[in-house]
């Protein structure tokens, strides 16, 4: 019986390091740029952090061959994944904008 091998260990290690740095650095950049209670801070936080998780997911399914563009339907499903991310980003962005774009009736 042969043992499981490791694929491209250097690439994996460097990617992990980049992800860790991004997870640490992005929130600090956002806080410095927009402030902790900025209207767009939570939106950008979620889509930056979520974007990192999402891109790692896309990378894993492509690198593993689970998503293979030569297989019928896989390209379409990959497009669906990207569409889903953009759909939610657009939906949340629209409501964040609408929150302050429409005048408040109260005092």
């Amino acid at each position: 019986m042969s043992a499981v091998g490791t694929r491209r260990p250097l690439t994996v290690a460097l990617s992990a390091l980049a992800v860790i740095l991004a997870l640490w650095g992005l929130p600090r950049l956002l806080m410095a740029w927009l402030g902790i209670d900025g209207h767009w801070t939570p939106y950008l936080y979620q889509y930056a952090m979520g974007g990192i998780v999402f891109v790692v997911g896309l990378g894993v399914i492509l690198a593993s061959g689970a998503c293979d563009f030569k297989r019928p339907g896989d390209r379409m499903w990959f497009g669906v994944l990207v569409f889903g991310y953009l759909w939610y980003a657009a939906l949340h962005g629209l409501f964040t904008w609408l929150a302050f774009a429409v005048p408040f009736h109260g005092e």
Binding site: L23, I36, D37, P42, Y43, Y45, G51, C67, V80, T96
Partner: protein
């Protein structure tokens, strides 16, 4: 049948027993004041609904022939049915109460937990879903044994069963509290009646009954949400007025990033959006069984897409809108010097707002209350069926009776369903003795128990090098350290500071959600360390069970190499079915149909009754045999019976792969 009639009679008698409790109800115990006699109307509407669902669910019992039907409906349903049934499962009896309260206190931020699942979808759609589908695992613990060993399997059985039974009890208890608050009927009476009805139709009908009743209940839930939202907008003067009277900070779809210790964007994202979403999509046996009931992986992906992209946002609105409407009403009232309603405890936001916007219409109110019951039943039925799946496949087959007939295991599954319902009922007693806030207790429990298992399953599926010693150490060590963090919450601070960038001075972070991420990180760290210190697993041990070997998994599932040649997707044929025992467990299609579908001998074919509205209940997945010489589609009698297909009826055929 006689047994069923007895059960039905028992149910009706239990309902009749609710009468004295109703009469004894005191007006002062209600959050809202119902007019005299109106409780009877609400109760009557609920009884009609209960009986209708009970009978509807029992109808589908006749389509259950073996344990594969009972748990997975033999992998034959289209995406739309799976999606529709998941709507009702995802909305529990407490959802309306909990999210209406959150909507009133936080505005549109109450939707955050529903709308942050997409980030893990690549892992699910291309990773976990095909792995479990093609490996034909019947339960999550079974995956653990095949990927690791029996120790990991039974560690997971304990956690999964404990989690699901706790959840059943929790749902039953919350519906009891809600009914008591509205009608004055005691918790035990209402919980007993609910338990009996759910127990009967799940025990008799299995997964098919669950899927079809949940379809109806999902529609019911959405109708109820629409009634509340539209009613609220009319009360306020239209959609523009609703939005105009909602304060801007309540209109934002996010709460401030880390200023709110209970529902801040950052801890909700990491705790619920990442750890919680992985738990929900990878570990929830009830949802996994829905996906396994799909006729193909692609149908499962479509179901996931429709559910997460379109239906979860709708569900978030349905369960939260009473709170938003209530907040707009209060703001308007404060400006105009009116008090729309008294709300002593925001836990009752939902019922109070519904009662007000419906102008105290008891019939509409009764309908909304029936929807609340629908939410309960549709969540608990899935959990009961999931408990039975784990009970039969992981415990009964292994430790009690091995190598018995399918009929024997089907009977055992029904008894275990009944047992799980009973244990859920017993757990209600536990909740009645608890003094703590149930919402926090619930989250605390999830974020302690789930992270270690979630991490092990994730690493097992996406990292072939991850081995058995690492899985055991990570699961035990991760759980223990996470549990200890309840005593030493300061252990979580470095992690929350790392991903959050330190909350401002004076803000005391509530760690209940961040504990989920803490558990994941600690378990992953242990797992990685032990993996590198121990030997690599054999290739044969992990083949077909990780994302790196899905090709092999597909070949194993089919029994031969997959055929990806493009053909027409679906053939609707006027050709009828005919019985031919020579087909011997295969389907024999006319040559022309085989060419159009690009089907070769050995390919998996899905054949279903041409009436699409049947939702695939009359269908079967079967390998293709040699082409038939005549114009009819040939199946043997056993396959025909397995798919509940009818001779002479037109069918449609589809190549799976």
């Amino acid at each position: 049948m006689t047994r069923l009639i007895h059960l039905l009679l028992l149910t009706l008698l239990s309902m009749a027993a609710a009468g004295p409790a109703l009469a004894a109800a005191e007006a002062g115990s209600f959050e809202i004041t119902l007019p005299p006699g109106s409780q009877v109307v609400v109760l009557a509407i609920c009884i009609v609904y209960f009986v209708a669902i009970l009978l509807f669910g029992m109808v589908f019992g006749r389509y259950t022939k073996d344990t594969n039907d009972f748990f997975y409906s033999s992998q034959k349903f289209p995406w739309w049915l799976i999606t529709a049934s998941m709507v009702a499962t995802g909305i529990g009896s407490y959802s309306f109460l909990k999210y209406a309260q959150a909507g009133f206190n936080h505005g549109l931020g109450s939707t955050m937990t529903y709308l942050n699942d997409w980030f893990v979808m690549p892992f699910f759609m291309f990773g976990w879903l095909p792995i479990i589908y093609f490996s034909r695992v019947r339960s999550i613990p079974e995956y653990f044994e095949r990927r690791f060993n029996w120790v990991v399997r039974y560690l997971s059985v304990v956690v999964i069963l404990g989690y699901m039974l706790y959840y059943i009890g929790y749902n039953l208890f919350t519906i009891g509290v809600a009914i008591e608050g509205i009608t004055g009927i005691g918790i035990w009476t209402s919980v007993l009646v609910c338990t009996l009805i759910i127990g009967v139709y799940v025990t008799v009908g299995g997964q098919t009954a669950v899927i079809f009743t949940d379809l109806v209940q999902g529609i019911m839930l959405y109708l109820a949400g629409a009634v509340v939202l539209i009613g609220g907008m009319i009360w306020l003067g239209g959609p523009g007025e609703f939005w105009g009277w909602l304060p801007p900070e309540f209109r934002q779809p996010f709460t401030p990033i880390n200023l709110d210790p209970n529902l801040g964007t950052a801890n909700t994202f990491w705790g619920e959006g990442i750890a919680g979403s992985i738990a929900f999509t990878f570990l929830n046996q009830g949802f996994i069984m829905r996906y396994l009931a799909a006729k193909s992986v692609n149908e499962g992906r479509k179901a996931a897409l429709a559910n997460v992209v379109f239906l979860l946002p709708l569900s978030a609105v349905v369960v939260s809108c009473a709170g938003w409407v209530g907040r707009a009403m209060v703001t308007k009232g404060a400006t105009e010097g009116l008090i729309p309603f008294e709300l002593a405890d925001t836990y009752h936001t939902f019922t109070t707002v519904v009662w007000t916007v419906m102008h105290q219409n008891i019939y509409v109110f009764g309908f909304i209350m029936a929807a609340l019951l629908a939410a309960l039943m549709s969540t608990v039925d899935t959990l009961i069926n999931a408990c039975a799946a784990v009970g039969v496949n992981d415990l009964y087959r292994r430790f009690v009776k091995e190598e018995r007939s399918e009929r024997h295991y089907l009977t055992a599954a029904r008894w275990i369903s009944a047992g799980a319902t009973g244990i859920g009922l017993l757990l209600v007693w536990l909740f009645t003795t608890m003094q703590a806030d149930l919402f926090n207790l619930h989250y605390k429990g999830i974020m302690v128990i789930i992270p270690a298992m979630v991490t092990v399953i994730f690493m097992g599926a996406f990292w072939p090098r991850f081995n058995t010693p690492a899985a055991i150490t990570a699961m035990v060590g991760g759980s223990a350290i996470n549990l200890l963090s309840l005593k030493f919450p300061q252990w979580i601070t470095p992690l929350s500071d790392f991903v959050l960038a330190s909350p401002p001075a004076g803000i005391d972070p509530n760690y209940s959600l961040f504990r989920g991420l803490f558990g994941v990180v600690v378990t992953a760290a242990i797992g990685i360390m032990v993996t590198f210190l121990t030997p690599r697993p054999a290739v044969e041990k992990v083949t077909g069970l990780t994302v790196f070997s899905l090709g092999e998994a597909m070949a194993k599932f089919k029994g031969s190499l997959p055929n990806f040649t493009r053909g027409r997707r679906v053939i609707s044929t006027s050709l009828g079915l005919a019985v031919d025992e020579a087909a011997a467990g295969r389907i024999r299609l006319p040559q022309q149909v085989m060419e159009e579908l690009a089907v070769r001998e050995g390919d998996l074919v899905y054949v279903a009754d041409s009436r699409r509205w049947l939702g695939g209940v009359r269908s079967v997945q079967v390998p293709a045999g040699p082409a038939a010489s005549g114009a009819a589609i040939l199946l043997d009698a056993a396959t025909l019976d397995k798919g509940s297909l009818q001779v002479g009826h037109a069918v449609r055929a589809e190549k799976i792969f």
